[in-house]
Symmetry: C2
Subunit: 373 residues, 2 copies
């Protein structure tokens, strides 16, 4: 989806009749998968049975003309289909061939089944999310899937850039598990420094204080006191200048050490007034804060609107649908308010098989009748 | 860090003497920031005071020779320094100029201060992470920062690829808030379909059942029953074939609807045996699962080792340090077990100012004495 936003022509290759599994994932709108809609906008679709010899031959013809093939079967599947990197390279030595999988193309667990949930659990991501008095907690989005998608795109575009300079294609191999390790960032360092695995931190920052979510009278508010100048303003705003004299809270390291003594004092004050009251004071003091928005509130945020981060697509069955826009703003990529709806299965068969590959109308009909496309 | 892994020469431009703020962020090892170490490996560093006229002139000279400039000041700062995209374009029209900020270069909140914590709160990310009986919960890693980094890299490399074809440079503008919206993925669709904001889901999948973390006698275990074939195997494994006859649990939609009736029955069985007992049975049945690993356990996972996802760097002060490897495996990028340690402030002054920009040794000494570098 993101590569299409950046200007790529993306052709989705789907099993005839059944299509992508995601077409059957909820939530549904008028019986159609809204989930599928939201992540497949602007793509083209061809139907193609890769298990039939004719289907395989057609994929190889397409691969001759493609810049990139990207797949996320379980490792070994493309090999079984006769569509491995080595096979594809024979017809197009310059191809970029990207594989995204749970555990990667190598290693003892390579061929095990993976799901976002399992990768979040296996990587340690769940062990540092949530609360110490609660079970391990999933990140609220499918960060296992999303992370792997982002790193795969980086690999693909890097390979394209490299090819533009060297003329050489290459294989990209991205594993969901590896990407979670990469996203753990300072948790790995924290383990390395003291040999202990970090614990879930609720809604506090592990090493900065106060830097967390507080309860106000009617709502929650995230506050980030990032340095000593802000600390002084914060104490003044709460009329607790006395804390500035206390050596236990003299710098961030002390404040974090003595967090249990410090935080209840702020909680007590902040709970006495509504969010709106504090927002006004924090704005005046130029102190960083944010309400804790619901998804609906975030979607309606003026800054989100100004950045065109909620776009619309229109489909004959679902009608208008809202989805996230493109977060990569680039001078040469126009900002559109709407997006082309996702394709039906095989919607672009005529264009791709006819115009691009040169099949005649009767050949296309015969392939359809045989169940190849 | 990631661009350096992919082969870029990355020159960090730091304030003389003080350097990058991250050099003062914990955790520390022998008094040196282990955090800084972990995200700056393999880079070069020059010291340069951008506020001095000579410093600015030197940056413009460097920009003439650079492919990319990337910065994450608050919007307006580079303009004040006289180093805006327009200024840089004058000396290098083909430059890629990437800016990463909290809220982007445009919009009413553009110039507000941002932190990972605030962006997680503002975007709705916190509202769907954690538990309904707990306050809003932070994702255990700085997904606000990390997400923006990944999208910025995609923008930069896309711009490089585009330039290789068209010859034209461009500006990339990425906002932390925008990236969180993009990562919300199906949460936006769920809101769009029924007008309600999704709630935090603990460690369950919102629309698949059973697909969550269960407690065993001694530990936690993530289980993903992703389709009906797995459902049958799962019930057999737990000796609850009777559930297969129950119309309330006939398909995933029913199982999710009747989750409150279904799950306690599994919890009761799974709690009776240790994780190791279940692991053996799940392996035999080829059912997907994972232990919920701590950070330490994840770092020692055999698959993580096989993928070279924990690498080492050696520094004279901290000694050996472990950090995450490169998750983007590419044919033409060699896999190394070690990494070059991060630079000291200005460690590469001689190389960059001398060899690259052609300053003499005495000129470099004079610039140092003046505090320009």
């Amino acid at each position: 989806m993101l590569m299409q936003e950046l200007g790529a022509e993306v052709i989705k290759v789907e099993m005839p009749l059944r299509g992508d599994d995601a077409r059957y994932f909820g939530p549904f709108k008028n019986g159609k998968s809204a989930y599928f809609m939201s992540v497949n906008r602007g793509k083209k679709s061809i139907s193609l049975n890769l298990k039939s010899p004719k289907g395989k031959a057609i994929l190889l013809k397409l691969a001759e003309k493609a810049d990139v093939i990207t797949e996320n079967f379980r490792p070994g599947t493309m090999e079984k289909l006769g569509l491995s990197y080595d096979e594809i390279k024979k017809v197009n030595p310059q191809i970029i061939y990207a594989s995204t999988s749970g555990f990667g193309q190598t290693g003892p667990d390579s061929k095990k089944p993976a799901y976002d949930m399992l990768v979040q659990a296996m990587s340690g991501m769940m062990s540092i999310t949530g609360w110490q008095d609660k079970p391990p907690t999933r990140v609220g989005v499918s960060i296992g899937d999303l992370g792997a998608g982002l790193y795969t795109i980086i690999g693909i575009i890097s390979a394209l850039y490299s090819r533009a300079i060297t003329g050489k294609g290459q294989r990209v191999d991205v594993a969901m598990l590896d990407c979670q390790l990469s996203l753990l960032e300072n948790a790995i360092v924290r383990h390395d420094v003291n040999g202990e695995s970090p614990k879930p931190g609720g809604n506090q920052h592990p090493t900065i204080t106060p830097f967390q979510v507080f309860r106000t009278k009617d709502s929650y508010m995230a506050i980030s006191v990032g340095n000593n100048a802000m600390w002084q303003n914060f104490c003044k705003l709460l009329k607790r200048e006395d804390l500035l004299e206390n050596p236990d809270f003299a710098d961030n390291m002390k404040r974090t050490e003595n967090r249990d003594k410090l935080l209840p004092q702020f909680e007590e004050i902040l709970e006495k007034q509504n969010l709106a009251y504090w927002e006004k004071l924090f704005d005046q003091a130029k102190l960083p804060y944010s309400p804790v928005n619901s998804i609906g509130e975030a979607m309606q945020h003026p800054q989100v609107a100004a950045r065109n981060m909620i776009v619309e697509t229109t489909d004959s069955i679902t009608g208008k649908m809202k989805m996230a826009g493109n977060p990569i703003k680039m001078t040469n990529i126009p900002e559109e308010k709407t997006r082309v709806a996702p394709p039906e299965i095989g919607q672009h068969n005529k264009e791709i098989y006819g115009t691009v590959l040169g099949f005649s109308e009767s050949e296309i009909k015969a392939l359809e009748a045989e169940g190849v496309i």
